[in-house]
Symmetry: C2
Subunit: 285 residues, 2 copies
């Protein structure tokens, strides 16, 4: 096993209290002691540790360990939620992942409480669940677009905290990441998509509509982050203008999360010597 890569993920943790996003540098390389040129090797090294830890989590479900992880990814369009999944989650065995991308709610989903569809997508024991957008859209897009009245919005912040506390109680370690990107960076990324015909499928005219509401979204994020930054499931602010730093940060965060779980390989629940004997005695024609 290689020694842990020098990424201090504690700096990603959002302090409790009022949130001013403009005070957090979207291009920061905080936490990482290397440079861009080192990032690929560091990500691979973290990947080795992460894959080992994830296999332990996966193995432990076979002995009734109910623990699991839920990674919540939030961020504006192009901030890299999909990129993180490809690059950081791509480091582990895909059998142990449960990835859900939440779009605008369907008619059926709208007839239920906003957490209904979320509960249905929760990871089962031994898995790492990944939410590409999440229940937070119900206090973000819902707020910016005025889809619900202020009372319901208020209720939702509290309901989310309550819900996440319940998850933690059930053995779900909740890791929440806001991919914090600048408006300038988003503009460049959207333009790049328009410039390359092979990337047109990633572009939707509604992306510009949302971009026009940038300030409202930032404000909605500030309120949501403050109201839901509770001890059981705190928020992490991931500087997202540099893709390599963003991927490293989330991978390191997952590694540290799993490392803290103390995941021992399960012990045999059978007589090893007896099995060796049985195996030796099997005759194959």
């Amino acid at each position: 096993m290689t020694p842990p890569e020098p990424f201090d993920t504690s700096v990603l943790r959002l302090p409790e209290g009022p949130v001013r996003l403009s005070e957090h540098d979207t291009a920061a390389t905080v936490g990482y002691s290397g440079e861009k040129a080192d990032a690929e090797a560091s990500l691979a090294a973290i990947g080795v540790e992460l894959a080992d830890l994830q296999e332990r989590l996966w193995a432990r479900r076979t002995v009734g360990d109910e623990r699991r992880v839920l990674l919540v990814l939030q961020g504006m369009d192009t901030s890299g939620k999909g990129g993180v999944i490809r690059k950081a989650l791509g480091l582990v065995d895909p059998q142990g992942l449960q990835i859900t991308a939440f779009k605008a709610p369907t008619e059926e989903e709208l007839q239920h409480d906003f957490l209904w569809r979320i509960r249905k997508a929760l990871p089962v024991p031994g898995h790492i669940g990944v939410f590409d957008r999440s229940h937070y859209e119900d206090v973000l897009a819902a707020r910016v677009r005025g889809l619900v009245d202020p009372e319901e919005l208020e209720r939702r912040y509290d309901a989310i905290v309550e819900f996440e506390r319940e998850l933690v109680h059930q053995g779900v370690t909740v890791v929440k990441c806001f991919l914090h990107m600048s408006a300038v960076e988003q503009g460049e990324r959207l333009l790049k998509r328009l410039d390359n015909p092979d990337k047109h499928w990633k572009y939707a005219p509604s992306d510009v509509d949302d971009r026009a509401l940038w300030s409202s979204y930032q404000e909605a994020y500030e309120v949501a982050l403050e109201r839901t930054n509770h001890h059981a499931a705190p928020w992490h602010l991931v500087p997202a203008d540099r893709k390599w730093l963003r991927n490293l940060a989330v991978a390191a965060l997952l590694r540290d999360t799993l490392a803290l779980m103390g995941l021992e390989w399960p012990r045999a629940d059978f007589d090893v010597e007896a099995e060796r004997q049985r195996l030796a005695e099997v005759e194959i024609q």
Copy 2:
């Protein structure tokens, strides 16, 4: 794009007609022009092609293309179904995968036709579905263990062919792989699991019970392979004694399958110039 790696997957295709598994070398390196030392680099190169093709499949679902792929993995315990998923499927974006491991049917599943639980796990458009064991267990374990009467078994071979034809008609490309491993190799792999306490979780005493039925299983495979080796969804025999060859073979097979689908990047369904203009005009406070 690198030129295609020299893996001729056509040799993996099982010829129609009676099947004699003993006539197929489980340690063969057929199809691959390199050696073990080259395998890692070749797998990475195939991974680049495969990831590109998979992203195209994924992109095309956004324009209503309903095509998808279903990889069916069958093989005895330790033949490497999980290893293939980790090493070959691990090369693509995990968002585009739908992996299902089928265990012994539950009480509820047994109350339905054997294809009921299979249908529920089918990949949706744009995805690569992976079955770690499948509906074939219902003519393999079911036959060896005498779980169903001969008439039902007969019905099932035909029902499977009919079912797979239906899938192909619906836009599902079905890729079936039998991981063909020798009994000697299995014995060594099971012993290795017993010798390493960190691998005990992968071992179950029932593995030896199944091993004792090796010949019956090989015979059940021969019948199943012959009866279901139809044109719409043919079988591939993957020599599985060498893990590196096995992983390369399945990765190459997936690459070739996707390459044949002619997956063009979707064209924009919006006015690119107008969007460029809109984007330039957005003002962010």
